[in-house]
């Protein structure tokens, strides 16, 4: 893991809300993390944990009508992105940051040819001419392993399979060789064999281009295969973060443990039912001061009713937000 070097991206206390007609949903509540150069950071959590909201907030992509960033800092190249002008953010998106969305079926414009859409980032950021951008687009298609790129450029999204469309999306995100790639569940909408191909492709491209990757997923299997470090999110907060080996070998937060236990194992004992986590994630309209996971936690005890624990160190670069982890402040006193 490349540590020691200055991180390429540093997020501090990021908070974002969605507003509905009669409530405010606290989707992201004080998320802080760093991303090292060339590092692959896994971001896991169930639906609604705030993974995507946090990443969209970084780049000013939250829907303006219904959501807004309410606090924090996002440091990139010494700049706070949350306070950057819309124009500066726009210039960074696509050139320094690539973003791959979950559903390749809806992320491509059905009425524009693939070539047109692939050429777009090149024309926008590099100011290439139509012809040069076209040639660049063909190279990109070849880069992501789509045969016969010249012909395929003329075609429209509906003439591509799901896996191919995701390859196109990846090619678009990588067009300007970004330093950070945010992959928002890029394999969730694909079937397992295609998933493996896309995973392999991204791993290769990362090696070739040396970019840092934030990989959002709810699939721990994918994380184990690709990430250097993992962040587990629950109810808009980070509950545990650790190097990937440490997380799988020694998960400390009960939520992380429950997630790992919920993974079906082909080699384990055959159980009648999958082990799901009981209950539902909390509603995020009102924030309580206690641990958000308490109602579902198998190991909750009296202290958990008290103030919510902050992230506490567990091991090297391994931290968990749980009362079961000894509080360094208290142990110092003892």
């Amino acid at each position: 893991m490349p540590d020691g070097a200055a991180p390429i991206l540093e997020v501090r206390d990021l908070a974002a809300v969605y507003r509905t007609r009669d409530a405010v949903v606290h989707a992201v509540n004080g998320v802080s993390f760093t991303l090292g150069r060339g590092e692959v950071l896994g971001l896991v959590g169930e639906s609604g944990a705030g993974k995507s909201a946090a990443m969209l907030a970084l780049l000013g992509l939250l829907p303006a009508r219904s959501a807004s960033v309410v606090g924090g800092q996002v440091l990139f190249d010494g700049d706070d992105l949350l306070r950057a002008t819309p124009e500066r953010l726009r210039r960074l998106r696509g050139s320094e940051f690539g973003y791959v969305f979950q559903d390749p079926a809806t992320s491509l414009n059905p009425v524009l040819s693939i070539g047109h859409q692939l050429a777009e980032p090149l024309r926008v950021h590099r100011g290439l001419s139509r012809r040069a951008a076209r040639a660049g687009a063909a190279e990109l298609l070849a880069l992501v392993g789509i045969p016969d790129p010249k012909r395929r450029l003329e075609q429209y999204p509906h003439q591509f399979s799901g896996g191919q469309r995701q390859r196109v999306m990846i090619a678009m995100a990588l067009a300007c060789k970004p330093r950070v790639l945010i992959a928002d569940e890029p394999t969730t909408a694909l079937d397992v064999t295609v998933q493996a191909q896309i995973l392999e492709l991204l791993r290769d491209l990362r090696r070739q281009l040396g970019m840092a990757v934030i990989w959002i997923t709810h699939d721990l299997g994918v994380i184990a295969g690709i990430a250097d470090r993992v962040i587990v999110m629950y109810a808009g907060r980070i509950v545990e973060q650790a190097p990937v080996r440490a997380l799988f070998a020694d998960p400390r937060h009960p939520y992380t443990r429950a997630l790992l236990a919920a993974l079906p194992r082909p080699d384990g004992p055959r159980e009648a039912r999958l082990r799901a986590i009981p209950g539902q994630p909390p509603r995020l309209e009102t924030l309580t001061g206690d641990c958000p996971f308490r109602p579902r936690c198998a190991r909750a005890f009296d202290r958990c009713a008290g103030p919510r624990p902050e992230l506490r160190p567990v091991g090297p670069e391994h931290r968990a937000a749980c009362h079961l982890v000894p509080d360094p402040a208290e142990t110092a006193h003892a």
Partner: protein
């Protein structure tokens, strides 16, 4: 048993060639295009072949039926009806097309702005409500009374009144387009590919022109077809009120309404101009229909069972709407 599979037909090329090919496959649209081309050609070149001055008063041949000399007969002043229909078509088509373009441009601009710029949405839509609530005919009356003479003085009687009519129709017929476009833009801006375009740093203006406008093209084309029809009908209504073109400068609407009083005695006087209007409107509608299908790149695929594609109902809906609007306009005269 091991019969070779049928060869997969090669995919058609993308781009303009494909649009033309899909348009050509739409039988109604091709028929509409042929009919419209014929009408346009007749109005442009017909007067060169049928060389009777539409204004020539032939008192001896008043109220004639169809004959070799006057193929469509003559009116109560002895003017040749064919010559009048042919030259009137030029004006009607020109008014219809220009007013439609003006209304469409206004409507699209307002719709896109309202849909895309959040703080403009409320004010612009209230403006649309305001325009829809205005009593159209009294307003037109006032506008034309006020400006007719000054425009005549500035551009000459024909151009002046042409500009005035086009302006008046265009400015009062953009609201539906604006509403449709706004609705589409609101739906489209939430599409994932718009988010994806933003995520690669596309400028807002380019998002509108490259990602949103091509997707609202089909409702715009339908509006255009409707717009031509409406403009022709509205111009007819205005002519009837004596606010349009003077009667020595015939248009289809003018001819229609001049003929109304003689309808029971000489029905051909309303049938021919009426037929010209109907055929034009109908063919424009079919062309619009075909264009909408042709511009959808997924049109190469076989139609989805259950009619998920919108084209089948569109044509009837458009026709009904045209008829309703026409009636509304015509009834406006009786107020």
């Amino acid at each position: 048993m091991t019969e070779p599979l049928p060869a997969i037909p090669p995919r058609r090329r993308g781009g303009r060639g494909a649009v033309a090919a899909r348009f050509a496959a739409h039988r109604g649209a091709v028929a509409g295009l042929l009919v419209l081309a014929a009408i346009v050609a007749l109005t442009l070149f017909g007067p060169l072949l049928h060389r009777i001055d539409p204004q020539y008063l032939d008192y001896l041949d008043r109220n004639q039926g169809m004959s070799w000399k006057h193929p469509l007969g003559t009116d109560n002043l002895g003017r040749d009806l064919l010559a009048q229909v042919l030259s009137g078509g030029r004006v009607s088509l020109a008014v219809g097309t220009s007013a439609m373009l003006l209304g469409l441009a206004l409507g699209t601009l307002v719709g896109v702005l309202a849909g895309f710029v959040r703080w403009l949405d409320g004010p612009l839509m209230r403006l649309v409500d305001l325009f829809l609530a205005l009593p159209l005919l009294p307003l037109l009356l006032v506008v034309i009374m006020l400006f007719r003479d000054s425009l005549r003085a500035a551009f000459g009687p024909e151009t002046g009144i042409f500009l005035l009519i086009v302006f008046v129709i265009g400015v009062t017929s953009w609201m539906q387009t604006a509403r449709i476009v706004r609705g589409e833009v609101l739906a489209l801006r939430e599409q994932e590919y718009v988010l994806a375009a933003r995520a690669i740093g596309t400028r807002p203006r380019r998002i509108v022109t490259r990602h949103i406008l091509p997707n609202v093209l089909s409702p715009i084309v339908v509006s255009a077809a409707l717009g031509v029809a409406n403009a022709i009908l509205l111009e007819s209504a205005l002519s009837f009120l004596g606010l349009g073109f003077p009667s020595d400068f015939p248009t289809w609407g003018r001819l229609l309404f001049d003929g109304v009083n003689f309808m029971s005695l000489h029905p051909t006087r309303v049938i021919w101009p009426g037929l010209a209007i109907s055929l034009t409107v109908l063919s424009v509608n079919y062309i619009g229909d075909g264009l909408r299908d042709a511009m959808d790149p997924r049109g190469d695929l076989p139609p989805i069972a259950g009619g998920a594609r919108r084209n089948r109902r569109g044509r009837l809906g458009v026709l009904l709407a045209t008829r309703r609007n026409g009636r509304r306009v015509l009834q406006g005269k009786g107020e």
